[in-house]
Subunit: 355 residues, 2 copies
């Protein structure tokens, strides 16, 4: 294999292990693992999920749902507030595919009631503290939406769904688990309040950090982590994975070595890695760790003291201790562990090698 451009290398055995660990955890706790496929958007990786026993999945757009439906997935939750402008695309799905929708307003429910040409399950999104989308647990609109859904001929109440994305701001495991606990309490309150009028709905909980750290999934019926399939430097910093569990690396050609600055430049920039970074207190920005690639494109531990510290459109700049830098010259490949694998995998969708 001749790598000439920035390329996402996927270690399939790490992927399999990450999936297996999460699946075993879900089985142990009797919750359904409905993994989020937005991280990889990759049909080969999807097949690894299938072999590990996954049948139901999550995506974040109608477009992704379409791709996965074409690849044979038949139970797909679109965990994004339903975009009314895509009603025609939704109506064109094969009715044999179960598309579960997410709503967070009465307006959407009424719109679906009016325009849907086939039956769908809907989940009501609850904002348990992330403050992105979703209704507050005590929002009076919820009861009205439930009634509207109950009287609908095309909609069926699936349950309450939350993404506790605030775990990405948590400092450490305890804070992460507290966030999970707060989310649980809120969802449970909804269940207690509404289940006797609308029996049979479920509670669906998301996010990789807490699903990776927790061993307490009581009250949840399904979990929807996504990033865990690859993990990344951000998850490592959050304490959700070890560095060796990170299953992807971006192979980047070295194009320039600046010995006087103890730096090198790679072909690998914002259009390959994304501009996501981790900020240090002193203003330093970390855009990725650096590893050495072997002949088989496996990779080493991270090189101590080596960091991607700046990205422009196509260039990446790496600081590296002198004696490590001496081992690189233009024409070599360097491996970059990405900060946020979802964004990197999206950018390199068409430049991917499954190892």
């Amino acid at each position: 294999m001749n790598i000439t451009q920035p390329t996402l290398l996927i270690d399939s055995s790490k992927v399999r292990m990450n999936i297996r660990n999460m699946k075993q955890k879900a089985d142990r706790h009797h919750v359904l693992l409905r993994p989020h496929f937005k991280t990889h958007q990759n049909l080969e990786v999807a097949e690894i999920f299938r072999k590990e026993g996954i049948e139901k999945i999550t995506v974040s757009s109608i477009t992704m749902a379409k791709q996965m439906a074409e690849a044979g997935w038949t139970d797909i939750t679109v965990a994004f507030p339903f975009n009314m402008r895509e009603i025609e695309d939704l109506n064109q799905f094969n009715p044999a595919i179960h598309i579960n929708l997410l709503v967070d307003s009465m307006l959407q429910v009424r719109f679906l009631n009016k325009h849907l040409r086939q039956n769908h399950v809907v989940f009501i999104e609850i904002d348990t503290g992330y403050h992105r989308t979703g209704l507050q647990v005590n929002d009076p609109e919820i009861a009205g939406m439930l009634l509207e859904i109950a009287s609908s001929t095309v909609l069926q109440m699936g349950g309450f769904l939350t993404h506790a994305g605030q775990t990405y701001q948590a400092r450490g495991k305890n804070e992460t688990l507290e966030i999970m606990e707060e989310s649980r309490e809120q969802l449970v309150r909804l269940k207690q309040r509404f289940q006797r009028y609308h029996p049979g709905f479920i509670l669906s909980y998301g996010d990789t950090p807490s699903c990776s750290m927790s061993e307490d999934f009581r009250d949840f019926d399904e979990i929807r982590p996504g990033n865990f399939v690859y993990y990344d430097v951000m998850q490592y910093h959050l304490g959700a994975c070890s560095l060796s569990e990170i299953a992807v690396v971006v192979a980047c050609p070295v194009v320039s070595v600046m010995k006087t600055r103890s730096e090198m430049a790679i072909y690998g920039g914002a259009v390959h890695l994304s501009k996501e970074y981790i900020a240090a207190d002193d203003g330093f920005k970390l855009f990725g760790y650096v590893v050495r690639l072997n002949q088989a494109f496996g990779w080493t531990e991270t090189i101590p003291g080596a960091y991607v510290y700046q990205l422009s459109q196509e260039h990446g700049l790496i600081k590296m201790p002198e004696k490590e830098l001496a081992l690189f010259q233009p024409g070599d490949l360097a491996g970059i562990l990405p900060i946020h694998s979802c964004l990197t995998a999206n950018l390199l969708k068409n430049k991917t090698v499954l190892l």
Copy 2:
């Protein structure tokens, strides 16, 4: 036209005006405008450049050079340190296409001498203060490289090239023009030192902020701004353009309106806009300004007090004054002026409408 997903709208008359202004400025100052096509990577926009009299262009990768060569462009500078791993791709170009290469080490020159199967012009990249790639003006390697190029049967010295990207950190016009002045002085020193031994080479200067602000291009033979074709919020903040000169907007479906928070959520996230932002002193991050779109997809002035302040993979969150927010509901479109149009245009390459 029915916009259902995040879509890059390009205002062709603004594009034409931006090109015309820069071309007229270049003509006035007797420098060649060799615009950087990395910003748009769009064949329709490329045709507007052609109609405005542009024949020679800049790109940032061999891949882009290939695309533009296929679209009929015959004089292309790849303003990225030559990536030795792409030598085969380079050798496959039609010899009728002039591909100018960039080098910043003797290693690359020797490699090209050995492996090139056709003639190419090379530029030596000079680091005049940006500290990304390129040689320092006083680097002894430059003289050796010039000799190596002079004695080569396949290489011809094109000139010295710099990208003064540090203008993106400048505070105001004076600082920007000072940076340009420092770059000029360094390039001129090289010209004075080497032109009698290696006559005929040129000085090539880049970056949109200084080319937009300056009226002094003496000593330069060509300029390579790119971003000016679209401009963006970053250029506006730098003082390089007005808001009304920004030629692109991302049309995003509104999916959720949170009145209690005076916010709304759009389908439009990091995979559409990129995570580039402008930081305010108080820690606030600006990911884009908001405009209203009219029936013909033209757009208004920015809505006062409305900002994209958070992006996740597919979601964008907008803060907006109550009375402005009252005019939006799920299913509407909002327009986002991007922070960094190069990255946004790259992400939405396949979701573009030229108006």
